[in-house]
């Protein structure tokens, strides 16, 4: 019986170390990805895959714009639509070089980051159904 318990303990430790290793690798990849894309996360409550999607979308769009000709409205619209269609309504996006904000967001649906010299606030709010009574 003791041998079985020891074996379980050993396997548990092994699995924990694997998970830890995977987490470390993911974090390192994320860090490299951010540095490569000139992204700095300022505040965040969002899973890594969603963050990466936001950064990639912003990066691709900024790269497609002529230099020194930032179309912030287009960037905000694209990010908002992308997240609405992929993760459900209602996402809000503010893009600019100088703004302050104070918002209420859904759990796991908030990121504030800078990319190059542009600041992006992307967050989700709960949608209440219209009362037709």
């Amino acid at each position: 019986m003791e041998g079985a318990e020891e074996e379980l303990e050993r396997r548990s430790k092994f699995l924990k170390s694997l998970i830890q290793k995977k987490k470390t690798i993911e974090q390192q990849e994320q860090h490299d990805h951010l540095q490569h894309n000139n992204v700095r996360v300022r505040a965040c409550d969002m899973p890594l895959p969603l963050q990466s999607r936001a950064f990639r979308c912003a990066r691709d769009l900024l790269d497609s714009m002529p230099p020194k000709k930032l179309d912030s409205k287009r960037l905000a619209l694209t990010l908002k639509k992308e997240f609405d269609s992929s993760y459900g309504p209602a996402w809000h996006c503010i893009v600019g070089t100088s703004f302050g904000s104070y918002v209420t967001h859904s759990l796991g649906g908030f990121v504030y980051f800078s990319i190059d010299k542009v600041y992006v606030l992307l967050f989700k709010t709960a949608v209440e159904p219209l009362d037709h009574s």
Binding site: H92, I94, F99, G100, S101, Y102, V103, T104, L121, T125, A126
Partner: protein, 59 residues
């Protein structure tokens, strides 16, 4: 009281609420320095939540 008139860019809001928004913005600028953007946004958002129910955002 801050001098100057509020200019509304775009709106989809009751006239009374628009008035509340401009009044609160004016009050916020009396309370805070113009550079304290987050404090101004927080003040307006919290007041609107109190006056018109939760879920307001302010930039």
């Amino acid at each position: 009281m801050l001098e100057g008139k509020a200019v509304i860019g775009e709106t989809d809001m009751l006239q009374t609420m628009q008035q509340d928004a401009t009044d609160l913005a004016s009050k916020a600028l009396d309370f805070f320095d113009v550079t304290e953007a987050i404090e101004i946004a927080r003040f307006i958002k919290k007041e609107f939540d109190r006056m018109h129910g939760p879920g307001w955002q302010c930039m």
